[in-house]
């Protein structure tokens, strides 16, 4: 059994919140560079150049890439042989609290969602997802999520008879609805299967998967490629000004489902697809 101190978790989450907001993941950065090389409309090329410069400025000056430094989504994989000294959830919330304050990150969380809507002033609570796995490691992924793109994500309970065409139609509908609101070029995660709640988590995990990685089933791999191509034929383009690069990537995650259902969720992220992780 491994013992991990509460304070270690606080300090790691604090660091990850700041680093995730200052530096684009390498795969996203490279995808942006590649998009710049291949884009063929002038306004779109200019837009992508600004996004590249923005990422460089943010990293060099330790400034947030985007002012929406997000709600702190935290994915935890905890080995069943790990013992945390103190409350793990409280340590994560405390790490978020300290990271957002010390990092000059925007506090974007309100307490009551409908009536009061008073800013909690410290960006807590975080949204924490736990997976219990085998082993004695603790993996923490901090993925700050902005709501310009989050607001454009959608879920639909398709019928099995809707088939692959139903999935394609729904994904493209979501992209068209999102358009310029989601700060294209987007990073898209699609979840298929599971249940109403599970499918949205699949979509979010797909969104966080490395750009260029593929679903192990070649049929879904082909669907990833086909959907990305179709999205980039919509003409929405960078910033929505018209162009080729509407999305940088599209990943699919799947899970078994009920005989009566075929849930589909589309999780949209802007190009600022932030995530940093640590294994303790």
């Amino acid at each position: 059994m491994k013992i991990i101190k509460n304070e270690t978790i606080i300090q790691e989450v604090k660091r990850l919140c700041q680093e995730a907001n200052y530096a684009l993941p390498q795969d996203v950065y490279q995808a942006l560079r590649h998009a710049y090389e291949t884009e063929d409309s002038k306004l779109s090329k200019q837009t992508l150049e600004v996004l590249n410069q923005n990422a460089q400025i943010a990293q060099e000056t330790c400034s947030p890439i985007c002012q929406d430094t997000g709600m702190a989504c935290v994915f935890v994989e905890i080995g069943q042989d790990v013992y945390v000294d103190g409350s793990l959830s409280e340590a994560i919330h405390e790490g978020v609290r300290q990271g957002y304050e010390a990092g000059y990150l925007r506090k974007s969380v309100v307490d009551d969602p409908m009536f009061d809507r008073v800013n909690t002033q410290d960006n807590t609570p975080a949204i924490i997802n736990y997976d219990i796995v085998e082993g004695d490691q603790l993996k923490i992924i901090v993925a700050p999520k902005g709501f310009g793109s989050e607001n454009m994500s959608q879920v639909k309970m398709l019928k099995p008879s809707d088939g692959v065409e139903g999935v394609k139609d729904f994904v493209l509908k979501v992209i068209n609805d999102a358009g310029p609101n989601a700060c294209p070029p987007m990073v898209v995660g699609v979840g298929i299967g599971g249940s109403f709640d599970r499918v949205t988590l699949l979509a979010k995990k797909a969104m966080l998967r490395e750009i260029g990685s593929h679903h192990p089933d070649p049929r879904y791999c082909d669907l990833e490629n086909e959907l990305l191509e179709k999205i980039n034929q919509t003409g929405i383009g960078p910033a929505g000004y018209g162009g080729k690069t509407t999305a940088l990537s599209l990943n699919i995650e799947t899970y078994p489902t009920h005989i009566a259902g075929m849930p589909v969720a589309v999780s949209i992220c802007c190009h600022v697809a932030r995530h940093k992780e640590v294994i303790l």
């Binding site: 400025i57 002012q67 000059y104 310009g148 700060c183 003409g235």
Partner: protein
């Protein structure tokens, strides 16, 4: 590239067309969801606003806190559609320009035509880049709203694109159609 300044007059507004790229220099005001809700409530109660909106430009933004020694943090545009419920009222009082990103609804477009307003797009996600255009920042109202408080900014060479002009032309439609039609704006 055209340069525009504030106050941003009706004549200035009418000279711009969807797709024009401009550099904005001058004083602008920040405001997003919660601030707009309060502004429109003040208007309905016939109370004075914290600033005169006539011929001014509102930037839909909630910036990050400035670091010590800096006047401003990161500050790219937020999604404008959430202000659609309030924008026609603001335009009717003489607000001339709005800066944000994303679709506007027909009510806003109609009000922009009626009152000669312009909707500018800043590049979403370019918060650090845009933040460098801000030369000064002063909190003027609703400080309790934190990032949503109204601030008076002085900006220099803030790069913008006209999304919807005062005739109601929309770059989001035009740009997409032009691109799909094979017309590359060389």
């Amino acid at each position: 590239m055209k340069t525009i300044t504030t106050p941003f007059t009706k004549e200035d507004a009418l000279s711009l067309k969807a797709g024009d790229q401009v550099l904005l220099t001058g004083t602008i005001y920040t405001g997003r969801d919660a601030a707009h809700k309060r502004l429109v409530a003040l208007i309905q109660e016939n109370k004075p606003l914290p600033f005169d909106v006539k011929d001014q430009i509102i930037y839909y933004v909630g910036p990050t806190p400035a670091k010590p020694g800096h006047v401003f943090g990161s500050g790219g545009p937020t999604t404008s559609g959430r202000m659609d419920a309030y924008a026609p009222t603001m335009l009717s009082l003489g607000l001339r320009g709005m800066i944000g990103k994303g679709y506007r609804n027909q009510d806003v477009k109609d009000a922009m035509i009626q009152y000669s307003g312009v909707y500018f797009g800043a590049i979403g996600g370019a918060g650090a880049y845009i933040g460098k255009c801000v030369e000064s920042c002063e909190m003027i109202a609703f400080e309790d709203l934190g990032p949503e408080a109204i601030r008076r900014l002085v900006v220099k060479d803030f790069p913008l694109t006209v999304i919807i002009d005062a005739q109601g032309h929309d770059l989001y439609d035009i740009g997409r159609k032009q691109y799909l039609g094979g017309k590359k704006d060389e």
